[in-house]
Symmetry: C2
Subunit: 373 residues, 2 copies
């Protein structure tokens, strides 16, 4: 190919009510367009320090090792296992959805023996049952759970399991990809050892970064490994040396994405965590009520429904693909399809960060009125 | 933390003459600020197809599997080994610099037995010697080489080794992080099986993406593995299913970075590869001449000097840190320090993509005149 004949790209301005990405504040786009600087420039290092400090705020932790991995949420899931699992180690994972299942695959690829604590999709893992299994496996190195299961809309309670893990050697690894920035994630208080998230959901920053925080207990375990971490790119010991005081080059910092994350976090603290959580709670309830009015049935277990992601069974007679295509093409609204065996059966409707506004609920209900009634 | 008291961030407008990132065209920043869309949005899928097509152009390949990994160049190095190495496999790596050495570490972490073909930093790996070692190890699964060694400024000739690898079962893995977009990288003609690069050097796109291309021979090997790829995030089989026709969700596409890469590639084809390579060649020569005029000595082996990255030994009496700090703080010019044992001894001066303009050579020589004379 000598000449490229394609034109400009003008992506549509979607209302992103799927499972993420969510809409992005214009200040974040502006920040992202600031000039790129080098990976050891004092200004990028200062930016990284600020990101760490603000991430400690949203994770509600004092963990020194709190940073953003240069990859999406999935890279954080991998980092959470690859750094702590050595071949043959036992891990116990609560499996009640697509991402929990992915956790077991990731752990297996690190050479872990995986004990699956299965539950029906749409239900929580009963904490007492999880603790019982952990007691049966005192050698378990990791207990893995998904806080907000994006495939089902279920919010997993963590306090009891965290309290148990605090008392034993087992690390509690939590996927907060969907919840961070939209719901309480009390890393220190709940006893979470490794918690990862993503930039593009309730933080409302473009996809591409993965916030992660690691407890001193987990870092000690990392340092006492007998084998090297099988991933160089996701080695938290090396990332710590770059993000921490040593400033040893590991990879080229994605400066533009760092600018975006920094601005997105600033916006969160301008609103305040409490108010932000309340906004997600209130509008999540409102959305659920509206959808029920159209004949959708709430899929997730009552009392454990995520505010920022509502999973609903389609009303009789609604063609999944056709309805979603009309929403996207005629109304510029994205809602999420079902994952795995739920494909065609449910929708996943997100109200995350910047998208979590009453105006967008109105846009959706208006469109649904046109399409469905 | 309830309130964040930090202000706005206004990074300085640096002239990025280090080892990357390079300066970014304003059209790329503009494209990056387009609204984010979902990871299965028909518009993002079309964008990905266009990226693949243009990447095939710069890689000079017809490889179907040509895509951008959602990580930096280092993630591409890891992908190039993690997908093809199974525990106990033998790989032969030419080691004449920091990144070649990193290749051996990455390969080891995948469970490979590594044969190091060592050479003094600053010199090429003699192709005949490399082929001799490969002949001694007919079971070698991979031959790994760095095309443009960013730590030394050396350009490795690949044609002879590629021709040999074509005839045997060994895969040729090439790091083109520094060269792609600024120098000929003839993947098909030279017989390269896996070639990875980075967005932030001669492609002049912000850091965060890693273009990679994989030959059918390598994909066959991937499909015939006995064990699973140890990385889920970097599994090329899964990435192929997302980038290819199947469109199976793997991770959330970093839309903003994709927009940026698409625009950066468009700019490359507007200029044309040949003209672009000539620009790098001509101005690289000019820079070398200018630096020699200040008493810097060219570090890399004659005849094999990279046009886009010039490594120079500091003149007697020049304080590395002090001079680089003055360049950065007083003149907003970044040049690169030495890596590894070359720290304090050499500078690495980049002329990559958008930074490769005569005006920036003038800025640098003007500043050096102030500082050094």
């Amino acid at each position: 190919m000598e000449k490229w004949t394609g034109g400009d790209m003008h992506p549509s301005y979607r209302i992103l009510m799927g499972p993420g990405p969510s809409n992005v504040h214009y200040r974040v786009y502006q920040a992202m367009s600031n000039p790129v600087i080098g990976y050891l420039d004092p200004q990028i290092l200062a930016c990284m320090d600020e990101i760490s400090e603000m991430l400690r705020g949203v994770f509600q932790t004092e963990n020194r090792v709190t940073l953003a991995i240069s990859g999406t949420g999935s890279s954080g899931m991998e980092a959470s296992y690859v750094n702590f699992v050595e071949p043959g180690d036992l891990v116990v994972i609560g499996v009640n959805g697509f991402f929990a299942d992915r956790m077991t695959q990731v752990a297996s690829r690190c050479g872990a023996k995986v004990v699956r604590v299965e539950e029906e999709w749409g239900k929580i893992i009963d904490p007492e049952r999880m603790i019982k299994v952990l007691k049966e496996h005192p050698e378990a190195k990791i207990c893995g759970l998904v806080h907000g299961e994006t495939s089902t809309g279920v919010r997993q309670p963590l306090e009891e399991i965290g309290a148990y893990c605090k008392k034993v050697d087992t690390l509690l690894v939590v996927d907060a990809v969907t919840t961070l920035g939209g719901y309480d994630v009390r890393v220190d208080e709940w006893g979470i050892d490794v918690c990862y998230a993503s930039s593009q959901k309730c933080l409302s920053v473009p996809p591409g970064l993965c916030p992660i925080t690691v407890s001193p207990k987990a870092m000690d375990l990392l340092r006492s490994r007998k084998t090297k971490v099988q991933s160089f790119y996701l080695d938290l010991g090396l990332l710590e040396k770059y993000w921490g005081e040593d400033r040893v080059y590991h990879h080229t910092a994605p400066a533009s994405m760092f600018y975006a994350l920094r601005e997105g976090l600033k916006i969160i603290f301008e609103e305040g965590l409490e108010r932000r959580f309340r906004r997600h709670e209130t509008l999540g309830d409102r959305l659920k009520m509206e959808l029920e009015g159209f004949g959708f049935k709430l899929f997730a277990q009552e009392g454990y429904r995520l505010p920022m992601l509502t999973s609903v069974l389609l009303p009789e007679g609604v063609d999944d693909l056709k309805a979603r295509s009309r929403l996207l093409n005629e109304y510029n609204i994205e809602v999420g399809a079902g994952l795995g065996w739920l494909k065609g059966k449910i929708w996943r409707v997100g109200l995350m960060g910047e998208t979590c506004k009453v105006r967008y609920i109105h846009c959706l209900t208006g469109a649904l009125r046109d399409i469905l009634t």
